[in-house]
Symmetry: C2
Subunit: 214 residues, 2 copies
């Protein structure tokens, strides 16, 4: 079995999403600046970017999958268009039953932000899990086999897995911005024992990897 990991962009004041999340600004006000390093410096940050999509399965919260959609919308297939960057099964935490949504395989090599993967990696399927985070983790680990399971976000979902002691590695990507409000990482996670295991940086980000032993 692989590790349970989380890559998450965070401001210096601890926010992973800004205030006023909505349909046309799903990360909230100002939060697109969290990811400048990814879009403006893909080569210098290639190693970090590659790791973000390397997992064998992904878990995300309902809010990350469908932030601002209000009621459940069966036509909605996420923010990522026809070819999501997740080339492995995705498990979405939700309270609404829904049949799995297979997304087609990429029609051509479409690397994510210059790192990433192409045609040979295939598509993904969005699976909807209504019976809690442990169940989602069990299903994701079964799907991932020996590969890692990545908790993709958002903040509440990551915090739930941290609080439950189900996270092995947290990779923070700290952007030099102050958001002032929004969603905080580490809220109500209880006591966490962290071990800082790797640090790297460009001028737009500091990458810090923590091993979690809660």
């Amino acid at each position: 079995m692989g590790k349970v990991t989380c890559d998450i962009g965070i401001s210096v004041d601890g926010f992973v999403a800004g205030p006023n999340q909505r349909l046309d600004e799903p990360l909230g006000d100002g939060a697109e600046r969290l990811h400048r390093w990814m879009f403006e410096q893909p080569e210098a940050n290639a190693e970090a970017i590659e790791k973000i999509t390397a997992a064998g399965a992904f878990i995300m919260g309902r809010n990350m999958f469908a932030s601002g959609r209000g009621d459940w919308d069966l036509d909605w297939t996420g923010w990522w268009g026809d070819e999501p960057p997740y080339h492995a099964p995705v498990f979405v935490l939700t309270h609404y039953e829904r049949a799995p949504v297979p997304m087609k395989a990429p029609s051509e090599a479409r690397p994510l932000n210059g790192g990433g993967r192409g045609l040979e990696d295939g598509g993904t399927t969005f699976n909807f899990v209504t019976d809690g985070i442990e169940s989602a983790m069990a299903r994701a680990q079964e799907a991932a086999g020996d590969a890692d399971v990545a908790v993709a976000g958002g903040a509440q979902t990551v915090n739930q897995y941290l609080a439950a002691g189900l996270m092995d590695e947290l990779r923070l990507h700290v952007a030099p911005i102050v958001l002032g409000a929004g969603e905080r990482l580490f809220e109500d996670v209880g006591d966490l024992a962290l071990e800082q295991v790797a640090v790297s940086h460009t001028d737009l980000v500091t990458h810090v990897t923590y091993r979690v032993a809660s």
Copy 2:
């Protein structure tokens, strides 16, 4: 005129002091772990430690000088004993008038945490400023001459200087701990434009230097 700088230890969840600050635990519960890198790895962190006490004048809040003392106590001369690590004038923000308190020069070389300075650097004087942060800054800059002025803490004082646009350089020392509660840096500081200018680390800390252009 030198820069206005701030060195501050911070947890991964953004706290620079823990909850329940009191006389026998002035940094609050658990917060002594913010500074393990300083005490356990003084040589590996020598460059960062040296910068902390290199300023030509220091400013600190009343809470940092006398946290938990309740009413003003004229016998109190800070937490640092007869030979504070500040070998330059210190300006304490307070609402209480008080005559300056000169501290004697070190009687022998007493390096701070293995970095630091000795006999030749002389003592310090605690000056008490009752007419606001701008006044304290003017007095500190006059005292410092061409050297930097360091805002030593605590969180409220640093946040006030950030909000007022009076900070040039913020040096965060991020410890791999979660405090969960306490005093936050960056609270109510408004819009800050940060430029990440340096990163270094040991396994107990990540040092990140930001230039502040507010």
